[in-house]
């Protein structure tokens, strides 16, 4: 692409660095911004700068937050003896959207994958062990992706926590709601049968 302006080109280059944005989309976004009032564009760039400089990671659960400790960890109504272990903030948002969970979280910041250079020390596992050792926590729920990396991480955390006085559970895996049995893949279905649950416990309150 040839540009008539160096400023235009550098703005397009920056947008094109974003995930999922190619150079054509980048150009469209830049031209759109150019058509907006100057104040609006300033607001846009200011919000980006302050995001980068102002954001904090909650020092308890490592979730993204504006304060030193996030809103979920400070909320008085929440059950602090129940901790849900997730990969990143997207999972926190997904679980929050269910309105089913009243405990707190622990954000690992990834899953163990030596091939991608991510080992246990790159994740927030040591702080999790400290939190559990402190004694207030009665149960941890492992809510990680059903991939090989997720399983490895679950197993690793289990090994680190199994000698501490805490209940360790993992989210159920199986048939999706509204899903027809015949369309479920063999591995999921096989596991669903192997790890079946008593019907009474599925009669939800």
């Amino acid at each position: 692409m040839n540009f008539s302006s160096r400023l235009l080109e550098s703005a397009v280059d920056e947008f094109a660095r974003l995930p999922g944005v190619g150079r054509k989309t980048a150009l469209r976004l830049v031209l759109h911004l150019l058509n907006r009032p100057e104040a609006e564009v300033e607001r846009f760039s200011l919000s980006m700068t302050s995001l980068r400089s102002g954001i904090r990671f909650c020092k308890v659960c490592h979730n993204i937050s504006d304060q030193l400790v996030c809103g979920i960890c400070t909320a008085t109504r929440r059950d602090r003896s129940l901790v849900c272990i997730v990969e990143d903030i997207r999972d926190v948002m997904a679980i929050e959207n269910t309105n089913q969970y009243q405990g707190v979280y622990h954000v690992l910041g990834g899953v163990i994958s030596p091939m991608d250079g991510i080992g246990p020390s790159d994740l927030n596992i040591a702080t999790l062990v400290e939190r559990v050792q402190a004694g207030e926590i009665k149960e941890v729920i492992l809510a990680l992706s059903a991939t090989m990396e997720g399983d490895t991480t679950i197993f690793y955390i289990y090994k680190k926590l199994k000698d501490l006085p805490v209940r360790i559970s993992a989210i159920a895996r199986g048939i999706a709601f509204g899903g027809e049995l015949e369309y479920v893949d063999e591995i999921t279905l096989g596991r669903s049968i192997a790890t079946r649950v008593p019907y009474e416990s599925t009669l939800m309150k």
């Binding site: 163990i112 994958s113 030596p114 091939m115 250079g117 080992g119 246990p120 020390s121 090989m148 490895t152 197993f155 690793y156 090994k159 680190k160």
Partner: protein, 371 residues
């Protein structure tokens, strides 16, 4: 099961061709570079979704053109099945059965089993153990569709374990519990693959010996054994014992990824002590054993593709071989050779009808009725 019709478009050196095949013996004859082997490869494509010779799909496209297409009409279980495979440059390979595209190519593999015997097979004897593992893995995965998934999982765990070993030596941080997790995963999948390979070799070995004795007329004594450290020790113990060495070498030194097959002739390694003809006989026996195994597992006859089979074999072995494959145990056969006269003479001698196709410069194909 047999292939009734084959049509090609821009496949390698063949611009366009359509041929109707005989359910028994088909021969492709022509000069060097005419495109005889390409026809076999096209059939291989239809059966196994890939080339036998070249793993790069785009290189199968005829020079100067943008796409290739291979189509075949099979008769299978008294039903007509149309298989077509096409590839456009920079696009995903399309693979269809009866005009319906496959979601997973793996679902196709094994439906139309095929055995190819080619001069390139010498790599099974000459190259490293990887070739020999691939040989048995290909056969087992054609009859057991879970096998390949297990192998992929094993390799993923292995890659993670090796990266971890590397990181341990780079950073000096050693976390035994993480390594243990990978060991457990490796043992679980590895043990299962080992079990399948061992069971396979128990059936495959005797079949191989039978074929080898037939081709050579019991003139030679050949050995084929499965060689795995897991035969002598369980995998978990093996990993534990090699843990020190693994950390020093920064890779996993024991496991089913080191399995091998041992080929012997008169008790000596085939690679060093076998003549070219002996090696070829050995390979043909291996492939025929693959054929018999597939036939036994599938319950119907796979296709048999013989590329340049007469090279390096003496007349006695050639005749025996042709007699054998034309007999009732074998179904549809494809043979390539440079000499039409030789093909006609051999099949005249054993009194078997053969359909001969003359191949010239890929495109022009003429054919005679079975004689």
């Amino acid at each position: 099961m047999y292939l009734r019709k084959l049509s090609l478009l821009n496949f390698k050196n063949c611009a366009e061709a359509e041929i109707t095949l005989s359910p028994t013996v088909n021969a492709f004859t022509g000069d060097n570079g005419a495109g005889k082997t390409n026809l076999l490869d096209a059939i291989h494509y239809l059966a196994l979704c890939k080339s036998y010779f070249n793993p790069v799909d785009t290189q199968q496209i005829m020079q100067g053109t943008e796409f290739f297409m291979v189509q075949g009409i099979f008769e299978r279980a008294e039903k007509e099945e149309q298989i077509s495979c096409s590839l456009k440059k920079n696009q995903k390979k399309q693979f269809k059965r009866n005009k319906k595209e496959y979601e997973r190519l793996a679902d196709h593999i094994g439906l139309f089993p095929l055995v190819m015997i080619s001069p390139y097979d010498t790599s099974i004897i000459m190259e490293g153990s990887e070739e020999r593992r691939r040989f048995i893995d290909t056969i087992i995965s054609q009859t057991d569709n879970r096998y390949l998934d297990g192998l992929i999982l094993y390799n993923k765990v292995l890659a993670n374990r090796n990266s971890l070993l590397k990181q341990i030596s780079e950073t000096g941080r050693y976390d035994p519990s993480l390594l243990e997790i990978y060991d457990d995963q490796l043992v679980e999948t590895g043990q299962r693959i080992f079990g399948k390979r061992k069971k396979f070799m128990e059936t495959f070995g005797p079949v191989f010996r039978k074929h080898y004795e037939y081709i050579t007329g019991k003139a030679e004594d050949a050995g084929l054994t499965y060689d795995s450290a897991l035969l002598h020790e369980d995998f978990a113990g093996l990993l534990k014992r090699s843990a020190e060495r693994d950390r020093a070498l920064e890779r996993t030194t024991a496991g089913i990824h080191r399995d091998d097959l041992t080929f012997l002739i008169h008790g000596m390694p085939m690679k060093k002590f076998g003549s070219q003809g002996q090696q070829k006989s050995f390979l043909i026996a291996l492939k025929l054993a693959q054929y018999s195994y597939l036939l036994d597992q599938k319950g119907f006859k796979p296709l048999l593709l013989l590329d340049d089979i007469f090279d390096k074999l003496d007349d006695k072995r050639t005749r025996k071989l042709m007699q054998m494959v034309s007999a009732d145990d074998f179904g549809q056969i494809f043979i390539t050779d440079t000499s039409r006269q030789r093909i006609e003479r051999i099949f005249d001698e054993i009194n078997v009808p053969v359909t001969v196709f003359d191949i010239a410069a890929g495109s022009c194909i003429s054919h005679d009725e079975p004689r």
